[in-house]
Amino acid sequence: MESRSRLSTYSASTSADINNDPLENILRARSSNGTTRNLPEQSNGEAHLKPVPARLESEASSVLSSGRSTPIPEDAPPSARSIQHARRERRRRMFPTVDYESRVSHFDPQSQHRDFRGFFTLFWIGLFIMVLTTALRNLKDTRRVLRTSIFSMFTKAPLELAIADLFMFLSTIVCLPLQQAFSDKWTWGKSGYMLQHMLQAVWLAAWVYLPFHLEWQWTHQVFFTLHSLTMLMKMHSYSFYCGHLSECHKRLRALDENNTKVEPVEDADLRETLAFEVTSPSGRVSYPQNLTLYNFVDYLFCPTLCYELSYPRTDRVRWGKVAEKAAAVFGCIFLLTVTSEEFILPIMTEAAARLESVDAYLDIALILLESISLLLFPFMVTFLLVFLVIFEYVLGAFAEITCFADRHFYSDWWNSTDWLEFSREWNIPVHRFLQRHVYGASRRHMSRPVATLTTFLISALAHELVMFCITKKLRGYGFVCQMLQLPIIVVQRTEFMKSQKMFNNIMFWSSMIWGLSMISALYVLI
């Protein structure tokens, strides 16, 4: 009660309307202060957009805190009071935020999207029958159940992979002491972020080089590289967001020098904004209390690439679900391997052999076209399985283990009508990361189209890196195709094309099916 009355007196000086209900003051949109404040441009380390006028959502604040908080002492600095106030609020933040909600994924049995669920079952039974058919055919032809060339790859030197992976994971810990240093001794804004960039570059280079040095096979290497890229994104998000928060925190503290009785309105509002910035969405944690080992390790395991001070959580771990998802992961990997073994590898091998004996361009083109068309179905199945294994099962398993409540890792990308929509929906963790840390950072220096171009560029380079690791060839087919999406998007966004939704979806699927097969065949064969 005391804190509430304090709050109402506090906000009385700034909001035009005062109601008798103390909660109203907190929840009402502060439109009376609706001018956009231009905070002095921060140094490059802070990737935030112009702060928008604080917009409060009209939801009860009871979800944010219990309403019973430790009262702060009379002589506490104004920053502490603001932080306590901020813990009760909801509003837009300075740094582009990711809004997490507690929700299930699309294919979860509890999901609302159950109209076509039967076809999902159909898909799995089809794959099961495919395995059965293949096994029986193999038995008939070769007396062995399944071919094993790819399976045997998994069993070579798994320990080496495991140890390297562990070391890579542990090496990310270097971020934590760095951020703790940035929180008081060093400054992020002036040069701290440059240090972080350099560190990340070295880190990535080291871990990408290692598989080459150890001459691993592509299965091990692709897993390791993808894992490294994921860890890199996590480190980047953690460091840059915490760096930004360190700057906010320091400025908030600096405002304590002000005389609060004759403080200008702008400074009071700034304090509000900054206090809100350093407080978590749940209202329970403020920077720098989050810079603990437990918080960092928990974040590493959470199925997200964007660091937030807190996430929505479920009550408890359902180990049955974890087991189910883990089993699904292994099942999917098994199916992927069988598909590759029986339907992709033979075609590729044969095509490679035939290509060695021909020289004429026409013959090469014909062989390529034939391989591509034979590979369309297998690659489509592979694509769908890869999508499911990562975004439904692996991330789902980790979400279950870490009690992470937001399971919305993908949207209905299969309904996409343009490539931008696809990019937003198919891989939501990475999309959020790119939007926040690449697009958001670029927007400060460039216009929207150029920022989009930069984001696509970085994404394409990362994809190309992965393809390089798999095939050991630097060709750029994937890079070209991905960058080609940009002019296609321009066409798709014209008024006429936007209305042809069905046509656009057909084009999306056609280019997806054809493109996957073509790119893979090109990489392998040429």
């Binding site: 669920r117 039967g118 039974i125 029958i129 059965l132 029986l136």
Partner: protein
Amino acid sequence: MFWGSTLWCVPLQKAIAKDRISWERTGWILQMVWEAVYLGVVIEYTLWKDWPWIQTVFIVLHCLVSLMKQHSHAFYNGHLSGVHKRLQSLERKLAELKALDTSEPNARHLVRTGSADSGVDIREASEEKEELDSVQVEDFERVIVEEVAACKGELSSHVEDGDGPAVVYPHNLTWWNYFEYIHFPTCVPSSHIHSLIYPKTNGNSVIYELAYPRTTTINWHYVLEKTTATFGVLGIMIVVSQHLILPVVLQTHALRLLPLSSRLQAFPYILLDLVFPFMIEYLMVWYLIWELILNVLAELTFFADHGFYGPWWNSATWGAFARDWNTPVHNFLHRHVYHSSISAWHVSRGTAAVITFLLSALVHELVMWSLFKRLRGYLFFMMMLQIPLVNAGRTGWLKGRETLGNVLFWWGVYTAPSLLCSLYLII
């Protein structure tokens, strides 16, 4: 030719309406005889002409649809003729009762004796008193008025605001009405929700009437899209059967000469080779008929109710599948086989269900026979197998296990067509 010959239904019903033929006594026998003859002639024609299987199956299916339409038209209108007669006798009775206001004792006696035909039960009153006093007359009037209202409700279509005037039996027995109905993508002419005997059609909460829900315009873009899709899907089906199914079928021709044991040995491989192509064909056939053809028909006949199927792919039990997969035929069977057998022969619901499945299985087997020219009974057996499966689904063990039910359902749908084809071809 066959289409035109079905038109005889209209004069038959007109005659019944004018009470020249009684539906209950002779009308229905005439109709059944006609239906049997119709079916027999069509099948004999295909045999006589020795048509290949595609044409045969098309004409047989078309004939069956036509048969269902005629049956429904006849039996429903026959039922309505009975209601109409009852209405007329009730109205006579009501007129008599109203005339009683002059309170003549003779008239009251008339009421008593006359009441026996109309079925109004005033026996109780008449046993106690010789004459009816005015309160009782009012009561009887009220009862009769209620029944008259119910009969009238049953005989007329339920109108929504702005749909135009109601259509009332026997004014629906026109040539045009029948012509329209023959082309509608439905097998039941106007059910009536308020009926006492004929059941509500489930699924969409649209009310069918002696007039159906209608649209006012044709969306030609839609028709064009669906028609193109029809030919496209037919093309896909032809390619799939040509390249994926036919080679396997040709293998089986060689197998037929071999003894049973070798046939049984080759059987699983044939089966597996056919599973995926048949799955594709199954889905294509469903899409072709229920999404393309019926929708085109509906659009062209201004038929507003496009609910031809439910979400059968989500079925967790075979019962749900039977209801969802083919709504027009389900409605027909539900009304004219299931409920008719309950009302006409007073069988229990379980027995009525068995009869329905029996009829359906027989019809499916007939189609199989016209396809393969062999009478084996595999499909009949599998369809009758659905009855214990449906009952098994109703027991508690599947409750809450919808995914498991769905998996089992899809497993069955996946393997059954291939299994059946292999069985028919080889064994």
